[in-house]
Protein backbone atom coordinates (compact mmCIF):
# COMPACT_ATOMS: atom_id res chain seq x y z
CA UNK A 1 0.00 0.00 0.00
CA UNK A 2 2.86 2.36 0.67
CA UNK A 3 4.12 1.72 -2.85
CA UNK A 4 0.75 2.92 -4.00
CA UNK A 5 1.22 6.04 -2.01
CA UNK A 6 4.53 6.82 -3.57
CA UNK A 7 3.17 6.33 -7.04
CA UNK A 8 0.25 8.59 -6.40
CA UNK A 9 2.37 11.30 -4.89
CA UNK A 10 4.53 11.09 -7.95
CA UNK A 11 1.45 11.49 -10.06
CA UNK A 12 0.56 14.59 -8.11
CA UNK A 13 3.96 16.08 -8.71
CA UNK A 14 3.95 15.31 -12.39
CA UNK A 15 0.69 17.08 -13.09
CA UNK A 16 -2.16 14.63 -12.65
CA UNK A 17 -3.46 17.04 -10.02
CA UNK A 18 -4.70 19.23 -12.84
CA UNK A 19 -7.57 16.79 -13.02
CA UNK A 20 -9.51 14.82 -15.59
CA UNK A 21 -7.45 16.11 -18.45
CA UNK A 22 -4.38 13.95 -17.81
CA UNK A 23 -5.32 10.28 -18.14
CA UNK A 24 -1.75 9.35 -19.05
CA UNK A 25 -0.51 9.93 -15.49
CA UNK A 26 2.15 7.50 -14.26
CA UNK A 27 -0.27 5.98 -11.73
CA UNK A 28 -1.07 2.31 -12.37
CA UNK A 29 -3.96 0.13 -11.21
CA UNK A 30 -3.28 -3.10 -9.32
CA UNK A 31 -6.93 -4.12 -9.15
CA UNK A 32 -8.80 -3.98 -12.43
CA UNK A 33 -12.30 -4.58 -13.70
CA UNK A 34 -12.01 -5.87 -17.24
CA UNK A 35 -13.90 -7.76 -19.90
CA UNK A 36 -12.21 -11.14 -19.81
CA UNK A 37 -12.71 -13.64 -22.61
CA UNK A 38 -14.25 -17.01 -21.74
CA UNK A 39 -12.02 -19.89 -22.81
CA UNK A 40 -13.93 -22.73 -21.19
CA UNK A 41 -17.05 -23.10 -19.05
CA UNK A 42 -17.87 -26.75 -18.43
CA UNK A 43 -19.57 -28.94 -15.85
CA UNK A 44 -17.15 -31.02 -13.77
CA UNK A 45 -19.92 -32.85 -11.96
CA UNK A 46 -23.63 -32.43 -11.17
CA UNK A 47 -22.97 -29.33 -9.08
CA UNK A 48 -19.79 -27.56 -10.18
CA UNK A 49 -18.68 -25.73 -13.31
CA UNK A 50 -15.11 -24.96 -14.30
CA UNK A 51 -14.62 -21.51 -15.87
CA UNK A 52 -11.40 -20.36 -17.54
CA UNK A 53 -10.91 -16.83 -18.88
CA UNK A 54 -8.19 -14.84 -20.63
CA UNK A 55 -7.41 -11.75 -18.62
CA UNK A 56 -4.95 -8.95 -17.93
CA UNK A 57 -1.52 -9.22 -16.37
CA UNK A 58 -2.86 -7.71 -13.13
CA UNK A 59 -5.64 -10.28 -12.80
CA UNK A 60 -3.38 -13.20 -13.69
CA UNK A 61 -1.08 -12.16 -10.83
CA UNK A 62 -3.73 -13.34 -8.35
CA UNK A 63 -2.48 -15.38 -5.36
CA UNK A 64 -4.02 -18.47 -3.69
CA UNK A 65 -6.84 -17.44 -1.34
CA UNK A 66 -7.57 -14.21 -3.20
CA UNK A 67 -10.84 -13.79 -5.03
CA UNK A 68 -12.57 -11.95 -7.87
CA UNK A 69 -15.88 -10.18 -8.11
CA UNK A 70 -17.72 -11.37 -11.21
CA UNK A 71 -20.39 -9.30 -12.93
CA UNK A 72 -22.60 -12.22 -13.89
CA UNK A 73 -24.67 -12.12 -17.09
CA UNK A 74 -28.43 -11.96 -16.56
CA UNK A 75 -30.09 -15.34 -16.93
CA UNK A 76 -33.59 -15.26 -18.46
CA UNK A 77 -36.06 -13.45 -16.24
CA UNK A 78 -33.59 -12.60 -13.46
CA UNK A 79 -31.51 -9.52 -12.80
CA UNK A 80 -28.64 -10.12 -10.39
CA UNK A 81 -27.55 -6.59 -9.48
CA UNK A 82 -24.36 -7.04 -7.47
CA UNK A 83 -21.14 -8.72 -8.50
CA UNK A 84 -20.55 -12.22 -7.09
CA UNK A 85 -17.40 -13.22 -5.18
CA UNK A 86 -15.52 -16.26 -6.50
CA UNK A 87 -12.23 -17.64 -5.19
CA UNK A 88 -9.30 -17.99 -7.48
CA UNK A 89 -9.19 -21.63 -8.54
CA UNK A 90 -6.09 -21.26 -10.63
CA UNK A 91 -3.95 -18.51 -12.19
CA UNK A 92 -1.46 -18.69 -15.02
CA UNK A 93 0.56 -15.48 -15.36
CA UNK A 94 2.24 -16.75 -18.53
CA UNK A 95 -0.96 -17.62 -20.36
CA UNK A 96 -2.68 -14.67 -18.68
CA UNK A 97 -5.55 -16.82 -17.51
CA UNK A 98 -7.51 -17.23 -14.31
CA UNK A 99 -9.83 -20.11 -13.41
CA UNK A 100 -12.88 -20.44 -11.22
CA UNK A 101 -14.84 -23.42 -9.92
CA UNK A 102 -18.40 -22.51 -9.09
CA UNK A 103 -21.59 -24.12 -7.94
CA UNK A 104 -24.84 -23.05 -9.58
CA UNK A 105 -26.99 -21.85 -6.70
CA UNK A 106 -28.90 -18.66 -7.56
CA UNK A 107 -29.44 -15.94 -10.11
CA UNK A 108 -25.78 -14.93 -10.46
CA UNK A 109 -24.29 -18.38 -10.88
CA UNK A 110 -27.17 -19.33 -13.19
CA UNK A 111 -26.01 -16.37 -15.26
CA UNK A 112 -22.41 -17.61 -15.23
CA UNK A 113 -23.69 -20.96 -16.45
CA UNK A 114 -24.90 -19.31 -19.70
CA UNK A 115 -21.37 -18.30 -20.74
CA UNK A 116 -19.87 -19.86 -23.83
CA UNK A 117 -16.29 -19.76 -25.09
CA UNK A 118 -15.67 -16.42 -26.75
CA UNK A 119 -18.18 -14.58 -24.56
CA UNK A 120 -17.02 -11.69 -22.41
CA UNK A 121 -17.22 -11.68 -18.62
CA UNK A 122 -16.52 -8.62 -16.50
CA UNK A 123 -14.14 -9.75 -13.76
CA UNK A 124 -12.73 -7.52 -11.03
CA UNK A 125 -9.65 -8.45 -9.05
CA UNK A 126 -7.48 -9.78 -7.63
CA UNK A 127 -9.10 -8.95 -4.30
CA UNK A 128 -8.37 -9.56 -0.64
CA UNK A 129 -5.59 -11.14 1.36
CA UNK A 130 -4.70 -14.71 0.37
CA UNK A 131 -2.91 -17.62 2.07
CA UNK A 132 0.65 -17.33 3.36
CA UNK A 133 3.11 -20.23 3.10
CA UNK A 134 6.00 -20.26 5.54
CA UNK A 135 9.12 -21.47 3.72
CA UNK A 136 9.92 -23.58 6.80
CA UNK A 137 6.78 -25.72 6.65
CA UNK A 138 7.46 -29.25 5.43
CA UNK A 139 3.95 -30.64 5.57
CA UNK A 140 0.57 -28.91 5.73
CA UNK A 141 -2.98 -30.22 5.96
CA UNK A 142 -5.79 -28.64 3.97
CA UNK A 143 -9.34 -29.42 5.06
CA UNK A 144 -12.21 -28.37 2.81
CA UNK A 145 -15.82 -28.89 2.02
CA UNK A 146 -18.17 -27.60 -0.67
CA UNK A 147 -16.94 -24.53 -2.50
CA UNK A 148 -14.07 -24.52 0.00
CA UNK A 149 -12.30 -27.09 -2.18
CA UNK A 150 -12.15 -24.49 -4.95
CA UNK A 151 -10.60 -21.95 -2.61
CA UNK A 152 -7.94 -24.38 -1.35
CA UNK A 153 -7.04 -25.67 -4.82
CA UNK A 154 -4.35 -23.13 -5.77
CA UNK A 155 -2.55 -24.02 -2.52
CA UNK A 156 -1.54 -27.38 -4.01
CA UNK A 157 0.59 -25.77 -6.70
CA UNK A 158 1.98 -23.05 -4.41
CA UNK A 159 2.94 -25.61 -1.75
CA UNK A 160 4.76 -27.68 -4.32
CA UNK A 161 6.70 -24.60 -5.42
CA UNK A 162 7.47 -23.96 -1.75
CA UNK A 163 8.71 -27.52 -1.29
CA UNK A 164 5.89 -28.27 1.11
CA UNK A 165 4.03 -31.58 1.12
CA UNK A 166 0.20 -31.37 1.28
CA UNK A 167 -2.43 -33.69 2.68
CA UNK A 168 -5.91 -32.66 1.61
CA UNK A 169 -8.89 -33.87 3.60
CA UNK A 170 -11.86 -33.32 1.33
CA UNK A 171 -15.42 -33.60 2.54
CA UNK A 172 -18.56 -33.90 0.38
CA UNK A 173 -22.07 -35.28 0.49
CA UNK A 174 -21.30 -38.04 -1.99
CA UNK A 175 -17.99 -39.24 -3.58
CA UNK A 176 -19.05 -38.10 -7.06
CA UNK A 177 -19.44 -34.51 -5.79
CA UNK A 178 -15.76 -34.20 -4.81
CA UNK A 179 -13.84 -31.71 -6.92
CA UNK A 180 -10.16 -30.93 -7.60
CA UNK A 181 -8.90 -34.30 -6.35
CA UNK A 182 -7.05 -34.78 -9.65
CA UNK A 183 -5.53 -31.34 -9.35
CA UNK A 184 -4.11 -32.12 -5.90
CA UNK A 185 -2.81 -35.49 -7.06
CA UNK A 186 -1.16 -33.80 -10.04
CA UNK A 187 0.77 -31.58 -7.66
CA UNK A 188 1.88 -34.53 -5.58
CA UNK A 189 -0.56 -34.11 -2.69
CA UNK A 190 -2.26 -36.90 -0.75
CA UNK A 191 -6.03 -36.69 -0.84
CA UNK A 192 -8.25 -38.26 1.81
CA UNK A 193 -11.89 -38.14 0.84
CA UNK A 194 -14.61 -38.27 3.47
CA UNK A 195 -18.29 -38.28 2.54
CA UNK A 196 -21.69 -38.15 4.16
CA UNK A 197 -22.95 -41.09 2.12
CA UNK A 198 -20.12 -43.28 3.36
CA UNK A 199 -20.54 -41.88 6.89
CA UNK A 200 -16.87 -40.87 7.00
CA UNK A 201 -17.32 -37.09 7.07
CA UNK A 202 -18.32 -36.68 10.72
CA UNK A 203 -16.10 -34.46 12.92
CA UNK A 204 -14.97 -37.44 14.98
CA UNK A 205 -13.51 -39.23 11.98
CA UNK A 206 -11.89 -36.09 10.60
CA UNK A 207 -10.37 -35.45 14.03
CA UNK A 208 -8.95 -38.99 14.03
CA UNK A 209 -7.35 -38.38 10.63
CA UNK A 210 -5.88 -35.05 11.71
CA UNK A 211 -4.53 -36.43 15.00
CA UNK A 212 -2.81 -39.16 13.05
CA UNK A 213 -1.11 -36.57 10.82
CA UNK A 214 -0.03 -34.51 13.80
CA UNK A 215 1.30 -37.62 15.54
CA UNK A 216 3.25 -38.54 12.40
CA UNK A 217 4.74 -35.03 12.24
CA UNK A 218 2.94 -34.34 8.99
CA UNK A 219 1.02 -31.21 10.05
CA UNK A 220 3.01 -28.00 10.42
CA UNK A 221 -0.10 -25.90 9.71
CA UNK A 222 -3.82 -26.11 8.97
CA UNK A 223 -5.55 -24.56 5.99
CA UNK A 224 -9.30 -24.73 5.80
CA UNK A 225 -12.36 -23.45 4.02
CA UNK A 226 -16.02 -24.29 3.65
CA UNK A 227 -17.14 -25.84 6.92
CA UNK A 228 -17.39 -24.22 10.34
CA UNK A 229 -17.83 -27.66 11.92
CA UNK A 230 -14.50 -28.82 10.54
CA UNK A 231 -12.93 -25.45 11.37
CA UNK A 232 -13.82 -25.94 15.03
CA UNK A 233 -12.12 -29.35 15.03
CA UNK A 234 -8.94 -27.77 13.65
CA UNK A 235 -9.10 -24.86 16.10
CA UNK A 236 -9.26 -27.35 18.97
CA UNK A 237 -6.30 -29.37 17.68
CA UNK A 238 -4.27 -26.27 16.79
CA UNK A 239 -4.69 -25.01 20.33
CA UNK A 240 -3.87 -28.41 21.83
CA UNK A 241 -0.70 -28.82 19.75
CA UNK A 242 0.28 -25.15 19.30
CA UNK A 243 -0.06 -25.31 15.52
CA UNK A 244 -0.67 -22.32 13.24
CA UNK A 245 -3.56 -22.23 10.81
CA UNK A 246 -5.36 -20.16 8.20
CA UNK A 247 -9.01 -20.14 7.27
CA UNK A 248 -10.71 -18.62 4.23
CA UNK A 249 -14.08 -17.18 5.20
CA UNK A 250 -17.19 -16.40 3.17
CA UNK A 251 -19.67 -13.62 3.61
CA UNK A 252 -22.19 -11.84 1.42
CA UNK A 253 -20.44 -8.99 -0.41
CA UNK A 254 -21.49 -5.84 -2.19
CA UNK A 255 -18.30 -3.97 -3.13
CA UNK A 256 -15.63 -6.63 -2.50
CA UNK A 257 -13.00 -3.98 -1.91
CA UNK A 258 -13.54 -2.71 1.61
CA UNK A 259 -15.91 0.18 0.96
CA UNK A 260 -19.32 -0.87 2.22
CA UNK A 261 -18.96 -2.87 5.45
CA UNK A 262 -21.66 -5.37 4.52
CA UNK A 263 -19.27 -8.35 4.73
CA UNK A 264 -18.14 -7.95 8.33
CA UNK A 265 -17.63 -10.84 10.74
CA UNK A 266 -16.59 -10.94 14.35
CA UNK A 267 -13.10 -12.21 15.22
CA UNK A 268 -11.60 -13.07 18.54
CA UNK A 269 -8.28 -11.25 18.71
CA UNK A 270 -6.58 -12.09 22.01
CA UNK A 271 -9.88 -12.33 23.82
CA UNK A 272 -11.30 -9.14 22.34
CA UNK A 273 -14.15 -9.30 19.79
CA UNK A 274 -13.09 -7.39 16.69
CA UNK A 275 -15.16 -6.62 13.61
CA UNK A 276 -13.43 -7.19 10.27
CA UNK A 277 -14.32 -6.93 6.61
CA UNK A 278 -14.00 -10.36 4.99
CA UNK A 279 -13.30 -8.82 1.58
CA UNK A 280 -10.52 -6.50 2.70
CA UNK A 281 -9.00 -7.88 5.89
CA UNK A 282 -9.49 -11.41 4.53
CA UNK A 283 -10.91 -13.59 3.13
CA UNK A 284 -8.00 -15.54 4.68
CA UNK A 285 -7.69 -15.09 8.45
CA UNK A 286 -5.73 -16.54 11.32
CA UNK A 287 -7.48 -19.82 12.18
CA UNK A 288 -7.37 -19.08 15.89
CA UNK A 289 -9.13 -15.74 15.54
CA UNK A 290 -12.06 -16.95 13.42
CA UNK A 291 -15.46 -17.36 15.00
CA UNK A 292 -17.82 -19.87 13.40
Amino acid sequence: MSAQHDQSQAAARFGAAIGGSCPSAPWKASIVAELAEVVRNEAVNAEYRHLVVNCSEEAAAAQPGQFFQLLCPQPAGEQPFLRRPMSLYGADPDKRQVEFLYKVTGAGTRGLDTLKPGDRLDIMGPLGVGFTLDPGWRHIVAVGRGAGLATLAPLARAAKANGTQVTAVFSARRPELLVSVELFHRHGADVIAVTDSEATSGPANVERILRRHIAEGRCDAFFTCGSSRLMRVQQRLAREFGLPGQVAMEQQMACGIGLCYCCVRDFNVNGEIVNRRVCWDGPVFNLMEALP
Binding site: S8, A12, I31, Q252, I257
Partner: protein, 328 residues
Amino acid sequence: MNAAVNSGIRAVTHVDLSVAIGGLTLRNPVMPASGTFAEGLEKVMDFNRLGAFVTKTITRELRAGNPLPRVVERPGGLINAIGIPSRGVPYFVETTMPHYAAYDTPLVVSISAPTAEGFASLAAELSIPGIAAIEANISCPNIEEDGKAFAMRAESTEKVTRELRKATRLPLWVKLTPNTGDVPEVARAAEAAGADAVVVANTILSMAIDLKTFKPCLGNIMGGLSGPAIKPIVLRQVFQCAKAVKIPVIGCGGISTAEDAIEYMLAGASAVQVGTATFLQPAAMTTIIDGLEAFCLRREIPRVADLIHGVVIEEADEPDLAWLDPVS
Protein backbone atom coordinates in the same frame (compact mmCIF):
# COMPACT_ATOMS: atom_id res chain seq x y z
CA MET B 1 -30.52 26.30 -27.21
CA ASN B 2 -29.54 28.17 -24.09
CA ALA B 3 -26.88 30.80 -23.83
CA ALA B 4 -24.39 28.61 -22.02
CA VAL B 5 -24.51 25.99 -24.69
CA ASN B 6 -24.05 28.19 -27.74
CA SER B 7 -21.64 30.58 -26.17
CA GLY B 8 -20.21 31.80 -29.43
CA ILE B 9 -16.95 29.90 -29.27
CA ARG B 10 -16.54 27.87 -32.43
CA ALA B 11 -14.32 24.97 -31.55
CA VAL B 12 -13.81 23.98 -27.93
CA THR B 13 -10.44 22.27 -27.62
CA HIS B 14 -10.15 22.33 -23.86
CA VAL B 15 -12.85 21.93 -21.22
CA ASP B 16 -12.64 23.62 -17.86
CA LEU B 17 -13.97 20.93 -15.54
CA SER B 18 -13.71 22.90 -12.32
CA VAL B 19 -16.75 23.81 -10.24
CA ALA B 20 -17.18 26.04 -7.20
CA ILE B 21 -18.96 24.47 -4.25
CA GLY B 22 -19.56 26.81 -1.34
CA GLY B 23 -16.06 28.15 -0.74
CA LEU B 24 -14.20 25.26 -2.36
CA THR B 25 -13.11 24.98 -5.94
CA LEU B 26 -13.04 21.37 -7.08
CA ARG B 27 -10.94 20.27 -10.04
CA ASN B 28 -14.01 18.51 -11.39
CA PRO B 29 -17.56 17.88 -10.16
CA VAL B 30 -17.20 14.15 -9.43
CA MET B 31 -16.70 12.73 -5.95
CA PRO B 32 -17.71 9.62 -4.02
CA ALA B 33 -20.90 9.35 -1.96
CA SER B 34 -20.34 8.82 1.75
CA GLY B 35 -20.20 5.17 2.77
CA THR B 36 -19.18 3.91 -0.64
CA PHE B 37 -15.56 4.98 -0.59
CA ALA B 38 -12.39 3.91 1.20
CA GLU B 39 -8.68 3.44 0.69
CA GLY B 40 -9.22 0.20 -1.25
CA LEU B 41 -10.12 2.23 -4.32
CA GLU B 42 -6.63 3.65 -4.62
CA LYS B 43 -5.67 0.31 -6.16
CA VAL B 44 -8.26 0.97 -8.86
CA MET B 45 -7.96 4.68 -9.68
CA ASP B 46 -5.63 7.62 -9.34
CA PHE B 47 -6.99 9.47 -6.31
CA ASN B 48 -5.57 12.70 -7.65
CA ARG B 49 -8.17 12.64 -10.41
CA LEU B 50 -11.19 12.95 -8.09
CA GLY B 51 -12.99 16.21 -7.40
CA ALA B 52 -12.98 15.44 -3.68
CA PHE B 53 -12.84 12.63 -1.13
CA VAL B 54 -15.94 12.07 1.00
CA THR B 55 -15.51 9.75 3.96
CA LYS B 56 -17.92 7.22 5.41
CA THR B 57 -19.98 8.99 8.07
CA ILE B 58 -18.20 9.04 11.42
CA THR B 59 -19.65 9.50 14.87
CA ARG B 60 -18.09 10.46 18.16
CA GLU B 61 -18.83 7.18 19.88
CA LEU B 62 -17.77 3.71 18.77
CA ARG B 63 -20.61 1.99 16.96
CA ALA B 64 -21.05 -1.58 15.75
CA GLY B 65 -23.43 -0.95 12.87
CA ASN B 66 -26.54 -2.97 12.10
CA PRO B 67 -27.16 -6.71 12.35
CA LEU B 68 -26.51 -8.84 9.27
CA PRO B 69 -27.57 -9.27 6.52
CA ARG B 70 -26.82 -5.63 5.72
CA VAL B 71 -27.56 -5.51 2.02
CA VAL B 72 -30.04 -7.06 -0.36
CA GLU B 73 -30.17 -6.53 -4.09
CA ARG B 74 -33.23 -5.76 -6.17
CA PRO B 75 -33.52 -5.16 -9.93
CA GLY B 76 -31.79 -1.81 -10.57
CA GLY B 77 -30.76 -1.21 -7.00
CA LEU B 78 -29.41 -2.15 -3.65
CA ILE B 79 -31.07 -1.85 -0.25
CA ASN B 80 -28.58 -1.34 2.56
CA ALA B 81 -28.84 -1.13 6.29
CA ILE B 82 -25.16 -0.96 7.12
CA GLY B 83 -25.78 1.54 9.85
CA ILE B 84 -22.81 3.60 10.85
CA PRO B 85 -20.10 1.37 12.20
CA SER B 86 -17.62 3.91 13.50
CA ARG B 87 -14.27 3.74 15.26
CA GLY B 88 -14.67 7.22 16.68
CA VAL B 89 -12.81 10.47 16.16
CA PRO B 90 -9.27 9.66 17.40
CA TYR B 91 -9.01 6.66 15.09
CA PHE B 92 -10.21 8.82 12.21
CA VAL B 93 -7.73 11.59 12.90
CA GLU B 94 -4.77 9.32 13.55
CA THR B 95 -5.33 6.56 11.03
CA THR B 96 -7.72 7.58 8.30
CA MET B 97 -6.75 11.21 7.73
CA PRO B 98 -3.00 10.71 7.14
CA HIS B 99 -3.91 8.28 4.44
CA TYR B 100 -5.68 10.94 2.39
CA ALA B 101 -3.13 13.63 3.22
CA ALA B 102 -0.90 12.04 0.59
CA TYR B 103 -3.15 13.36 -2.18
CA ASP B 104 -3.84 16.77 -3.62
CA THR B 105 -7.60 16.24 -3.33
CA PRO B 106 -9.81 17.97 -0.76
CA LEU B 107 -11.04 15.75 2.06
CA VAL B 108 -14.69 16.11 3.02
CA VAL B 109 -15.59 14.41 6.26
CA SER B 110 -19.13 13.12 6.76
CA ILE B 111 -20.38 13.32 10.34
CA SER B 112 -23.44 12.23 12.25
CA ALA B 113 -24.72 12.56 15.79
CA PRO B 114 -27.94 11.88 17.64
CA THR B 115 -28.44 15.54 18.70
CA ALA B 116 -27.83 19.02 17.29
CA GLU B 117 -25.30 19.66 20.03
CA GLY B 118 -23.57 16.39 19.25
CA PHE B 119 -23.31 17.46 15.62
CA ALA B 120 -21.87 20.83 16.61
CA SER B 121 -19.21 19.54 18.94
CA LEU B 122 -18.15 16.88 16.44
CA ALA B 123 -17.86 19.54 13.73
CA ALA B 124 -15.79 21.73 16.03
CA GLU B 125 -13.50 18.88 16.88
CA LEU B 126 -12.96 18.10 13.20
CA SER B 127 -12.34 21.68 12.07
CA ILE B 128 -8.65 20.99 11.74
CA PRO B 129 -6.03 21.31 8.99
CA GLY B 130 -6.40 18.56 6.44
CA ILE B 131 -10.17 18.69 6.38
CA ALA B 132 -11.57 20.78 3.53
CA ALA B 133 -15.27 20.64 4.30
CA ILE B 134 -17.80 19.02 6.59
CA GLU B 135 -20.75 17.07 5.24
CA ALA B 136 -23.44 16.73 7.89
CA ASN B 137 -25.34 13.51 7.31
CA ILE B 138 -28.61 14.59 8.87
CA SER B 139 -30.49 12.17 6.69
CA CYS B 140 -29.28 8.70 7.40
CA PRO B 141 -32.46 6.66 7.50
CA ASN B 142 -31.10 3.84 9.58
CA ILE B 143 -30.09 5.30 12.87
CA GLU B 144 -33.23 7.02 14.02
CA GLU B 145 -36.28 5.00 14.85
CA ASP B 146 -38.43 3.90 11.93
CA GLY B 147 -36.27 5.87 9.51
CA LYS B 148 -36.87 9.34 10.92
CA ALA B 149 -34.02 11.84 10.73
CA PHE B 150 -33.32 15.56 11.24
CA ALA B 151 -33.74 16.17 7.51
CA MET B 152 -37.33 14.97 7.59
CA ARG B 153 -38.46 18.41 8.78
CA ALA B 154 -37.42 21.98 7.99
CA GLU B 155 -37.39 23.02 11.67
CA SER B 156 -35.02 20.32 12.89
CA THR B 157 -32.82 20.90 9.83
CA GLU B 158 -32.64 24.61 10.55
CA LYS B 159 -31.76 23.97 14.18
CA VAL B 160 -28.99 21.46 13.55
CA THR B 161 -27.54 23.53 10.69
CA ARG B 162 -27.49 26.66 12.84
CA GLU B 163 -25.58 24.82 15.58
CA LEU B 164 -23.17 23.42 13.04
CA ARG B 165 -22.63 26.85 11.48
CA LYS B 166 -21.72 28.27 14.87
CA ALA B 167 -19.30 25.42 15.51
CA THR B 168 -17.18 25.51 12.35
CA ARG B 169 -15.78 27.93 9.79
CA LEU B 170 -15.13 25.13 7.31
CA PRO B 171 -17.40 24.89 4.29
CA LEU B 172 -20.54 23.16 5.55
CA TRP B 173 -22.47 20.77 3.34
CA VAL B 174 -25.76 19.41 4.61
CA LYS B 175 -26.92 16.07 3.23
CA LEU B 176 -30.69 15.78 2.94
CA THR B 177 -33.03 12.83 2.98
CA PRO B 178 -35.28 12.00 0.03
CA ASN B 179 -37.81 10.50 2.48
CA THR B 180 -39.81 13.63 3.04
CA GLY B 181 -42.62 15.39 1.26
CA ASP B 182 -40.98 18.73 0.71
CA VAL B 183 -37.24 18.48 0.11
CA PRO B 184 -36.92 22.03 -1.27
CA GLU B 185 -38.41 23.43 1.92
CA VAL B 186 -35.82 21.53 3.95
CA ALA B 187 -33.09 22.77 1.59
CA ARG B 188 -34.26 26.34 2.16
CA ALA B 189 -34.05 25.79 5.91
CA ALA B 190 -30.46 24.57 5.59
CA GLU B 191 -29.59 27.57 3.42
CA ALA B 192 -31.21 30.01 5.84
CA ALA B 193 -29.23 28.53 8.72
CA GLY B 194 -25.93 28.97 6.92
CA ALA B 195 -25.15 25.81 4.95
CA ASP B 196 -22.72 26.34 2.07
CA ALA B 197 -24.22 23.53 -0.01
CA VAL B 198 -26.84 20.80 0.19
CA VAL B 199 -26.30 17.22 -0.91
CA VAL B 200 -29.47 15.73 -2.43
CA ALA B 201 -29.90 13.00 -1.32
CA ASN B 202 -29.38 9.96 0.86
CA THR B 203 -31.04 6.59 0.21
CA ILE B 204 -34.81 5.98 -0.04
CA LEU B 205 -36.26 3.96 2.81
CA SER B 206 -37.26 0.54 1.50
CA MET B 207 -37.92 -3.07 2.40
CA ALA B 208 -37.64 -6.57 1.02
CA ILE B 209 -39.07 -9.84 2.32
CA ASP B 210 -37.67 -13.32 1.72
CA LEU B 211 -40.41 -15.58 0.33
CA LYS B 212 -38.68 -18.71 1.61
CA THR B 213 -38.54 -17.69 5.26
CA PHE B 214 -41.14 -14.87 5.32
CA LYS B 215 -38.48 -12.81 7.15
CA PRO B 216 -37.23 -9.36 6.12
CA CYS B 217 -34.14 -9.69 3.92
CA LEU B 218 -32.23 -7.21 6.11
CA GLY B 219 -31.24 -7.67 9.73
CA ASN B 220 -32.47 -4.14 10.33
CA ILE B 221 -35.88 -4.93 8.69
CA MET B 222 -35.82 -1.74 6.60
CA GLY B 223 -32.97 -0.14 4.69
CA GLY B 224 -32.15 2.49 2.10
CA LEU B 225 -32.52 1.98 -1.64
CA SER B 226 -29.72 3.28 -3.87
CA GLY B 227 -28.65 2.77 -7.46
CA PRO B 228 -30.22 3.38 -10.89
CA ALA B 229 -33.76 2.66 -9.60
CA ILE B 230 -33.84 5.91 -7.61
CA LYS B 231 -32.31 8.21 -10.22
CA PRO B 232 -35.54 9.73 -11.64
CA ILE B 233 -36.82 10.46 -8.13
CA VAL B 234 -33.71 12.15 -6.78
CA LEU B 235 -33.16 13.99 -10.05
CA ARG B 236 -36.58 15.56 -9.53
CA GLN B 237 -35.62 16.56 -6.00
CA VAL B 238 -32.38 18.15 -7.22
CA PHE B 239 -34.37 20.10 -9.81
CA GLN B 240 -36.80 21.32 -7.15
CA CYS B 241 -34.02 22.22 -4.70
CA ALA B 242 -31.95 24.06 -7.28
CA LYS B 243 -34.97 26.27 -7.95
CA ALA B 244 -35.49 26.80 -4.23
CA VAL B 245 -32.00 27.76 -3.02
CA LYS B 246 -29.07 29.85 -4.20
CA ILE B 247 -26.34 27.70 -2.59
CA PRO B 248 -24.96 24.85 -4.71
CA VAL B 249 -26.81 21.56 -4.82
CA ILE B 250 -24.73 18.39 -5.00
CA GLY B 251 -26.66 15.63 -6.73
CA CYS B 252 -26.47 12.05 -5.47
CA GLY B 253 -28.66 9.11 -6.41
CA GLY B 254 -28.19 6.40 -8.99
CA ILE B 255 -25.44 8.11 -10.98
CA SER B 256 -23.58 5.44 -12.95
CA THR B 257 -22.56 7.11 -16.20
CA ALA B 258 -21.45 10.48 -17.52
CA GLU B 259 -24.92 10.84 -19.02
CA ASP B 260 -26.45 10.46 -15.55
CA ALA B 261 -24.08 13.11 -14.18
CA ILE B 262 -24.95 15.49 -17.04
CA GLU B 263 -28.68 14.96 -16.47
CA TYR B 264 -28.16 15.90 -12.79
CA MET B 265 -26.12 18.97 -13.68
CA LEU B 266 -28.76 20.11 -16.18
CA ALA B 267 -31.37 19.66 -13.44
CA GLY B 268 -29.36 22.01 -11.23
CA ALA B 269 -26.55 20.07 -9.56
CA SER B 270 -23.20 21.86 -9.27
CA ALA B 271 -21.41 18.58 -8.55
CA VAL B 272 -22.30 14.90 -8.22
CA GLN B 273 -21.59 12.07 -5.86
CA VAL B 274 -21.27 8.50 -7.06
CA GLY B 275 -22.15 5.67 -4.69
CA THR B 276 -23.54 2.28 -5.64
CA ALA B 277 -22.14 2.50 -9.18
CA THR B 278 -18.65 2.05 -7.71
CA PHE B 279 -19.69 -1.37 -6.37
CA LEU B 280 -20.45 -2.50 -9.91
CA GLN B 281 -17.69 -0.61 -11.72
CA PRO B 282 -14.94 0.35 -9.31
CA ALA B 283 -13.54 2.93 -11.75
CA ALA B 284 -16.98 4.50 -12.33
CA MET B 285 -15.88 7.92 -11.05
CA THR B 286 -12.92 8.35 -13.39
CA THR B 287 -14.96 6.98 -16.29
CA ILE B 288 -17.59 9.62 -15.54
CA ILE B 289 -14.97 12.38 -15.42
CA ASP B 290 -13.66 11.30 -18.83
CA GLY B 291 -17.20 11.14 -20.18
CA LEU B 292 -18.06 14.62 -18.91
CA GLU B 293 -15.04 16.04 -20.65
CA ALA B 294 -15.80 14.20 -23.88
CA PHE B 295 -19.43 15.36 -23.84
CA CYS B 296 -18.45 18.99 -23.37
CA LEU B 297 -15.89 18.77 -26.18
CA ARG B 298 -18.44 17.17 -28.50
CA ARG B 299 -21.12 19.70 -27.69
CA GLU B 300 -18.67 22.61 -27.65
CA ILE B 301 -19.33 23.52 -24.04
CA PRO B 302 -16.19 25.30 -22.74
CA ARG B 303 -16.87 24.92 -19.02
CA VAL B 304 -18.60 21.99 -17.38
CA ALA B 305 -20.12 24.57 -15.02
CA ASP B 306 -22.13 25.84 -18.00
CA LEU B 307 -24.24 22.71 -17.68
CA ILE B 308 -25.48 23.63 -14.21
CA HIS B 309 -29.24 24.21 -14.26
CA GLY B 310 -29.07 24.17 -18.05
CA VAL B 311 -32.41 22.39 -18.46
CA VAL B 312 -34.55 24.21 -21.01
CA ILE B 313 -38.09 24.75 -19.77
CA GLU B 314 -40.51 25.98 -22.38
CA GLU B 315 -44.02 27.10 -21.73
CA ALA B 316 -46.12 24.49 -23.48
CA ASP B 317 -49.76 25.44 -23.43
CA GLU B 318 -50.69 22.90 -26.03
CA PRO B 319 -49.42 19.39 -26.76
CA ASP B 320 -46.06 19.45 -28.48
CA LEU B 321 -46.50 17.21 -31.48
CA ALA B 322 -43.27 18.17 -33.22
CA TRP B 323 -41.54 14.86 -32.60
CA LEU B 324 -44.36 12.91 -34.18
CA ASP B 325 -43.15 13.11 -37.68
CA PRO B 326 -39.58 11.98 -37.75
CA VAL B 327 -39.71 10.86 -41.35
CA SER B 328 -40.83 13.86 -43.34
